[in-house]
Amino acid sequence: MIYAIFIFNNKGKPRLTKFYTPIEESDQQRLLGEIYHSVSNRTAASCNFLESSLIAGKNRIIYRQYATLYFVFVVDEAESELGILDLIQVFVEALDRCFNNVCELDLVFKFQEIHAILAEIVSGGLVLETNLNEIVAACKNQMPKTKRPGGLNFGNTLSSFATRF
């Protein structure tokens, strides 16, 4: 199962934190710091997996970097590493479709919506839906269609990086 999901940028600023197992509030920030530290120090040629014992004994950290953002999943033995990597890809593609060229600022200003999209993909720490069309449809159907706010200069979109992996 997935214990926790983090999105943070390359300076360690959290953009999303989600725990599927109860963690003390004081430990949550510490965890984030430790994970940021161990993940951000890795080179591009390194593999995307790390063994750790940060949550509930032995577990693994599986992460992917898109542009300025790290997407990090902390999972137990029962998850396939590559399966989780694929899931991160699905998550990013879903964000991309919902926000039409998603970038870090979307995550900052619409953090509630990110949670809603994630809820369509992972529930209770387990993979819920992997079909992009379904995910996007579910998210869009739930609420009235909104327009992209003008005035903000979005650059550096994630989608251009999504194909790097």
């Binding site: 959290p14 953009r15 999303l16 934190t17 599927y20 109860p22 509030e25 949550q28 920030q29 080179t43 040629a45 390194s46 593999c47 995307n48 997996f49 790390l50 063994e51 029962a78 396939s80 590493e81 590559l82 399966g83 990597l85 694929d86 899931l87 890809q89 699905v90 919902c98 900052v108 200003f109 619409k110 953090f111 509630q112 919506e113 949670h115 809603a116 809820a119 529930s123 209770g124 720490g125 387990l126 993979v127 819920l128 839906e129 992997t130 079909n131 992009l132 069309n133 379904e134 579910a138 998210c139 869009k140 739930q142 609420m143 269609k145 909104t146 327009k147 706010p149 194909t163 992996f165």
Partner: protein
């Protein structure tokens, strides 16, 4: 989209924060928190405002600031009419409340209401909440609704998926809540046409399989069927194709389910089907360039390989798996290589033999020097797993070669792995000692305490290694730059076994002392303390050193560190006490009983208790002082067991068949009273126990203390019990007594005539004979016929005179009752009075008994003819 765009206040707040410097952020957050708190206290808060402020709280919370209020507002949002408001409410509740929160009852009620709603969005969001943070109370309350949503045909698929995961959460955390009859219908859902219902259910089934072996058969059939459909390209919509691979997550899960219950794949047709499916899965490995596609393919391949090995590790699939694994191990992509290492190590741990791995050894070794710490760790694990009796030495050599080039974390890892490998595969002690010393020498900084503790333990427990390792360590200690681990283990062993090399050139007592002394100054407190003890031990074994050692203690007795000071003072005091007291304190360390980490190999065998071991070779306890009394009482039923200037211990015994009594009488030979007198059994055997014992620990001169032991039934062989008496006579004194309870005590003397004797003697034959030839202990001992006969009679042999051709030979017989069985024993003893030699032959219907009787008798006879006796 999710949230109404009008929440302008939130946007402004976020923008504000972004424009501030790090240190001003907290100030701004506190201002905002105060503002929100004030708003919440006002009675006229609109739902829209509530949503906006709770959203702000969530953002602040995510930044890492604690949120201590607003929980009630979040709960109120759960019942809001607008979906977007409800959504923020659920999000806030999930983040801010835990399952023990006071408000959780309100939350449960809202969730129940939403589950009963006909609106599938409300169902979904409530199910999501149950799956994410359902505690016992919530799960119990909502279980019927969740189950209803999963099983009802009227429910939309997207809701059913969520219901499956919510139910799984309940089953995972509180299995007793779920109706056991529901498990089979859930397994049936694996077949669902909707691939994602199937995916959600597959996670569920994985847990069922772990908990319920009885359902394996059913699960197995369903899973193979589903896997076959997917692999053959049928039964799914194109929506579920992820980069040309049909739902890789489901395929992975199905493989894992099958791996968990593969033992059920017994009938040939199922097995053939599965092999066929796996064959197809393993064949898709082609030249794929696209990363996502390759990822998905590999995710499935690794699972397929594991499953293929479990099903059939020699057949047609084997070669395919080997090729795949080989390619993946050599893959340039770090992820693939990492997982290939992981999978291979897993396969070896399952007992599969992978011969082609040898060709990749260099490659795996070279991965030890990668920058990527995960990959280094995995390659080390794999090398560790690859090790077997055959290649252990070469792998250890290779690992040692890499040792100096690694960072300290990897070094530590490698060292503990190498240390445990040497222990598992050591077949000669030199190799074991050499490798471990090399670890301590080259990478002492990274050696953790476990490693050198275990090394010392192994040396202490194996006599054959002691001299060699002390000699090697002593040489290494001569160097000026030695790491503390080496100093600690080296000096510790020097203190124990330094005397073994004291006669060798340049390693005499004085050099040993100087070596330890030199290390003392530069060491840390922990090491210093240990070194002081070592000096004490050295001075015990080499009395010449006492003056020097005392001056060192004096020097440290004014140390500012209290631990060092206390030790130095105490040790100094010890040196001034009578020397036999020091030798008690510095007794040789006993063999460690802490189990070795892994099964020891040939040379590291437990001190083998062979039956030819003599009685007095009790390694754990020093019983030497009571031995002379013990030998005498072996053939007498009454007498003095032990006597010194302070105490005397007398014994009276009575034995019939397999029962017996032993009474001990303790007497104080001094004029003053001893206190804290106690007598406890250090070693005993089944059925031998204390019957009655003195209750007073005050031992006055006019008093006799008694202790009575009994044995009600002899049901096996045994070692003589050991009793420890201790008391305070100014200083603490203790003596270990070996109690004269030996096998021959239980023997019934028997007399045979010549023909019966030889008939039985011949029948038992040579293979049941124990024969020993030996001389007497002590230069002044003289074998004497009258005493010899007396002892033999005392050992309960019935003498059969005139049977042997040689009249000086003594022939006897006896019967032992062990475990309600009679065991016949025959004795022939050929004394040589001129040479003070004895040849002893004992035959018995039980060979082990013959051996025990013979060795006991040898010990007793050897030590019973001292001239003064």
């Amino acid at each position: 989209m999710v949230v109404n765009n009008q929440m302008k206040g939130l946007k402004t707040f976020i923008s504000d924060l972004r424009n501030l410097k790090e240190k001003d952020e907290e100030k701004r957050v506190n201002i905002e928190l105060a503002k929100i708190r004030a708003k919440f206290q006002s009675s006229t808060l609109s739902a829209y405002d509530r949503k906006k402020y709770v959203s702000k709280l969530l953002y602040i919370y995510m930044l890492g600031y604690p949120i201590s209020f607003g929980h009630l507002e979040a709960v109120k949002l759960l019942t809001a009419a607008k979906y977007s408001e409800k959504q923020i409410g659920y999000l806030a509740v999930a983040l801010l409340l835990n399952e023990n929160h006071d408000l959780i009852r309100l939350v449960i009620n809202s969730i129940k209401k939403d589950l009963l709603s006909l609106d599938s969005y409300k169902n979904s969001i409530a199910l999501h909440a149950v799956a994410n943070f359902g505690g016992r109370e919530m799960c119990e309350t909502v279980y019927p609704e969740v189950q209803q949503l999963l099983m009802s045909a009227a429910t939309e698929n997207i809701v059913r998926q969520k219901a499956a995961l919510s139910l799984l959460h309940i089953y995972r955390k509180f299995p007793d809540i779920m109706d056991p009859d529901l498990r089979e219908p859930i397994i049936m859902l694996l077949d669902d046409d909707d691939l994602n219902v199937s995916l959600a259910v597959s996670t569920f089934v994985l847990l069922i399989v772990c908990r319920e072996p009885s359902l394996h058969n059913l699960v197995c059939k369903k899973a193979i069927h589903k896997l076959k459909l997917i692999v053959s390209g049928r039964g799914y919509s194109s929506d579920y194709v992820y980069y040309s691979v049909p739902c890789p997550w489901l395929q992975v899960n199905l493989c894992r389910i099958l791996l968990a219950c593969h033992k059920e794949v017994i009938d040939d047709s199922t097995k053939r089907t599965l092999i066929h499916v796996l064959d197809r899965m393993l064949s898709i490995f082609d030249d794929i360039k696209e990363t996502q596609h390759l990822n998905a393919i590999n995710a499935i391949l690794f699972e397929a390989i594991k499953l293929a090995f479990a099903i059939d590790d020699s057949g047609s699939l084997y070669q395919k798996c080997m090729n795949c694994l080989g390619k993946m191990i050599a893959d340039k992509e770090a992820n693939v290589r990492y997982l290939a290492f992981d999978t291979t190590a897993y396969l070896i741990s399952c007992g599969h033999h992978i011969p082609s791995l040898k060709t990749h050894k260099e490659l795996i070794l070279s991965s030890l020097r990668y920058k990527d710490v995960s990959l280094r760790k995995k390659s080390l694990e794999l090398l560790y797993m690859m090790c077997d009796a055959e290649n252990s030495k070469s792998v250890v050599d290779d690992l040692l070669m890499y040792l100096p080039y690694l960072d300290s974390v990897s070094q530590e890892d490698l060292i503990s792995k190498v240390a445990s490998l040497t222990e598992i595969y050591a077949d000669d002690y030199k190799w074991y000692v050499d490798v471990n010393l090399q670890l301590l020498r080259v990478a002492g900084r990274s050696v953790n305490d476990d490693v050198w503790h275990q090394f010392v333990r192994v040396i202490v427990n194996n006599e054959s290694t002691q001299q060699y390792s002390v000699r090697r360590l002593f040489k290494l200690l001569q160097s000026d730059s030695t790491h503390e681990c080496l100093v600690r283990s080296g000096c510790y062993l020097l203190g124990e076994y330094g005397y073994l090399i004291a006669d060798e050139p340049e390693s005499g007592p004085l050099q040993q002392f100087l070596t330890v002394y030199k290390k003392l100054h530069a060491s840390s407190t922990r090491t210093k303390v240990l070194l002081l003890t070592v000096l004490l031990k050295l001075s015990n074994l080499q009395p010449d050193l006492q003056k020097r050692v005392a001056s060192v203690f004096k020097q440290y007795s004014v140390s500012l560190n209290t631990e060092i000071q206390q030790r130095a003072c105490e040790y100094l005091q010890l040196l001034s006490l009578p020397s036999d007291f020091l030798s008690i304190v510095c007794e040789k360390v006993p063999v460690f009983t802490i189990p070795a980490k892994s099964q020891p190999s040939s040379f590291i065998s437990k001190s083998d208790v062979s039956l030819t071991d003599s009685l007095n070779s009790v390694k754990e306890f020093d019983i030497s002082s009571s031995l002379s009394g013990f030998y005498r009482l072996c053939w007498r039923d009454k007498g003095i067991l032990y006597r010194d200037s302070q105490v005397q211990v007398g014994a009276v015994m009575e034995f019939h068949d397999s029962q017996g009594y032993l009474s001990l009488y303790f007497e104080n030979r001094q004029k003053e009273t001893f206190s804290s007198f106690s007598a406890t059994l250090l070693r005993t055997f089944p059925n031998f126990q204390v019957d009655a014992s003195f209750t007073d620990s005050i031992f006055s001169p006019d008093k006799q203390l008694q202790q009575r032991f009994s044995i009600d039934r002899l049901d096996g062989l045994f070692d003589p019990p050991i009793l420890r008496i201790s008391f305070l006579a100014g200083v603490m004194r203790s003596v270990n007594l070996l109690l004269p309870v030996v096998l021959s005590k239980f023997m019934l003397p028997t007399v045979f005539d010549g023909s019966t004797f030889f008939q039985r003697w011949g029948k038992m034959g040579l293979e049941r004979e124990a024969q020993l030839t030996y001389g007497l202990n002590g230069v002044h001992s003289k074998l004497d016929e009258r005493r010899l006969v007396k002892i033999i009679l005392g050992l309960n042999w019935g003498l059969c005179p005139g049977i042997d051709m040689n009249p000086t030979n003594i022939v006897g017989a006896g019967i032992l009752q062990v475990n309600a069985q009679n065991i016949g024993c025959l004795l022939r003893l050929e004394p040589n009075y001129q040479k003070n030699m004895i040849r002893l032959s004992i035959r018995s219907t039980n060979t082990t008994v013959a051996n025990v009787l013979a060795t006991n008798m040898q010990d007793i006879l050897k030590n019973s003819f001292h001239s003064e006796a």
